[in-house]
Symmetry: C2
Subunit: 457 residues, 2 copies
């Protein structure tokens, strides 16, 4: 019974059966598993065993599993395949999966793959490859069910039965004219709930939400989120249907963009790969450029501090407040920038809202700044009773209010600015804001300190 | 023609037509729009106009639009509805949408809503409300198509045609026994591609991926990501089918968790609301607790610095290096913690991998630390030629290497620790790491400085 094997024991069980040459039993086990799980399992066994295990899979399951594997293992398999095996897998791929594969493989492997696709598929693949990275065109597939407006419901079912097996989804069918202009769409649900002799044109939805080939894939994913569609039609500038994007691709995009965002927001060059699969030197490379940049930018803060040497050697206790002030500036800046980055990504905030945003942030800053200043003042009166607490409270309190206000405005402004410049707002997150605010925080603090000193408090 | 109105002009056009009492034309316009877009539009008009515009919508579209609206506007509408109107909307809601609504509304509104649901629906709603927040049970719906194993394909279609109109999805049908035990599932695609007299039991998929009612909704969403299903069955401990989760709910969960994560990672208490809908005092409240906590924690760093007053008044130039060292510590820590938080969320990393993670991070830290130390040294020889650059280089270089190593280990360790303690790893991101590393960075720096001074470099 397969139920009795725990998933974590599966690789061991499979290898044992392989050593005993019990191929039939392995096949049975595989057939009770989802392709994504088989792919995970194959990644856990010794690399030299992967091809033999893969060959045990039934043809269709083999292709489905292949799609779910990491590019490393895909390359390994392709190199192990003979021409016949390669053709079998390539034949079963959907066009969008074939495109993904070709984008990941080295040139010589791509050549071998393309040799096994028919001319029409090859042309389609080449066309999709020409769309810009991250565009709707680059993630679409061309395997959809198309209907003609004069078909009846029963014609439609006939067509679905005949061609549906090779389509990525059959649940939304697209009604097109001879020139491929998109007229409408009809769901299988609608077809199932209508009498057989109803003309498709009378039940099709003609208010169509579609995307253009060049539209950003993140905007495409947002449309899935908003409208809950199973698939979205991709059209060219003349409203001719060229492909569809399905909800599972949208989920992948949302995941990838999320992963990219949080990496960018922490100053890591984004990578889609599994943490453990990234070599150490590449981990370092993904992080070091930003670290260097931020480290060198911190020189500015150092120079500012050195310029006020006279102030802090006169009142050395001031130095102890620097981390608290810099930290608060960085935290406020990153809070605001995160709220704005999130709002921009969700489409809640547009660049032209900048005035409203600044007004909001300034009011929030006033509340936060005054609260922090009061709590800080209480702390000073408890901890530094002998060190002129009035001077310290006023200096650090005013600094806090100024720093919070500036940090929140900058935190709100920079992502919007990035958006306007066509950059990713996520780049304007914590690390950059923190580094900028470090310099401003010291500058504000020492100037306020000198001012209060000159008043003679 | 609706095509000639730009979406951003829509609210104005609608209000104009409303002033001219052209209700028919408004209705036409609405019928060419998606419910999500009508909901957005209603949010942009004056609040007092919302009920009258909503009443223009045809019944079914009205209910679909209602579901897409924010809870503020939903409450406004319910308060404006008479009993008959309320019943019409409530009747059209899917159970999961009704549950969402009830969770958001104040008690008196909930009472009115429940008065208009039949006893069976009320029981279902109450049951779903009993599942823990963020569980599979809390996001499921009970409106699915169930089949019996002895049905034929044509019986199945008959049943779909009869009951499908009220189901959230018809594309995956669930085959159950009399006691509701889940036997298998069959897709409409499979049904369409099979002869009419085939028994359902012979084509159903019996290797079922299902989730339990208490499973975390994030894990449920991960299953959608992994397997690309349209819907997933939710079963109780006895494998009885109690509901389904559909892909659009999974997309919502992924979005919400993403939004929650990046807010937590920037020390903002997560909120799902639109940036502009959150009142200023609430914006401040969402941020201020963390700010206070982090500000007070920074006191530790301040105290450490004050303890080394002798060192930095003797060599005041040292103070200028504090921001660079603290910044680098914070940045490295947050880079590592982000990579680990991401890996944990994607299921790539498990808590028991902690040894492997630390080994990886330490090697990355060695590469990064040495590189930063070298670049920093070059900078010192350029900028501080007259200030004992050898002493400064060695002190800050060794500090950098130590700080980077500690930061990366802590950054990797804390999210795993949070996971083990049942906390959200996202809490262990930049703000916390930065604050902790500030203290350690100063401590490491001054001790190395004193050590090198004592050697007499």
């Amino acid at each position: 019974m397969t139920d009795t094997i725990r998933p974590e024991d599966m690789p061991e069980v499979i290898i044992e059966k392989l050593n005993d040459r019990k191929f039939g039993e392995i096949r049975e086990l595989f057939m009770s598993m989802e392709p994504a799980d088989i792919a995970l399992l194959l990644e856990e066994v010794e690399r030299s065993r992967i091809p033999i295990l893969f060959r045990i899979l039934p043809k269709e399951l083999a292709a489905e599993t292949f799609v779910e594997m990491d590019s490393d293992e895909q390359e390994l398999l392709i190199n192990a395949f003979n021409e016949h095996e390669l053709k079998e897998v390539v034949d079963e791929l959907f066009v969008d999966d074939a495109v993904d594969l070709i984008e990941e493989m080295p040139a010589n492997v791509v050549k071998r793959i393309l040799r096994h696709t028919d001319r029409e598929t090859r042309n389609t693949i080449n066309e999709i490859l020409r769309y810009p990275k991250d565009s709707a065109g680059s993630i679409m597939t061309t395997e959809y069910v198309s209907l003609r407006p004069d078909m009846t419901v029963s014609d439609a079912f006939e067509r679905i039965r005949r061609t549906g097996v090779d389509k990525e989804t059959i649940y939304t069918c697209y009604v097109i004219e001879d020139n491929r202009k998109l007229l409408g769409l009809v769901s299988v649900r609608e077809l199932l709930l209508s009498p057989y002799n109803t003309p498709v044109s009378s039940i099709m939805e003609t208010n169509i939400i579609s995307v253009e080939t060049t539209e950003d894939r993140e905007d495409v994913a947002n449309k899935f989120d908003k409208y809950d569609f199973i698939s979205l039609p991709v059209v060219d500038k003349e409203n001719r249907l060229v492909g569809i994007v399905t909800f599972d691709d949208a989920i992948d995009v949302i995941r990838e963009e999320h992963s990219e965002d949080i990496q960018k927001m922490s100053a890591v060059s984004p990578s889609d790969e599994n943490y453990f699969k990234i070599p150490v030197w590449k981990h370092a490379k993904n992080r070091i450029v930003w670290l260097l940049l931020l480290m060198l930018s911190a020189t500015v803060t150092g120079t500012i501090i050195n310029n006020y040497e006279a102030a802090f050697t006169a009142v050395p206790i001031l130095v102890g407040f620097i981390p608290m002030l810099m930290g608060t500036g960085g935290n406020c800046g990153s809070q605001s920038s995160t709220m704005i980055i999130r709002g921009l990504a969700l489409g809640e905030i547009r660049a032209r809202d900048i005035g409203r945003i600044l007004f909001t942030e300034l009011r929030v800053a006033l509340i936060s700044g005054v609260t922090l200043a009061l709590v800080n003042s209480a702390r000073i009166y408890i901890m530094y009773r002998g060190d002129n607490p009035l001077f310290l409270s006023i200096t650090t309190g005013l600094s806090l209010i100024g720093i919070v206000a500036l940090a929140q405005c900058l935190g709100a402004l920079l992502p919007v600015l990035a958006k306007l410049l066509g950059l990713d707002p996520a780049l304007m997150a914590q690390p950059l804001i923190t580094t900028i605010m470090d310099a401003f925080s010291c500058f504000i603090f020492f100037n306020i300190a000198l001012l209060i000193m000159s008043i003679g408090l």
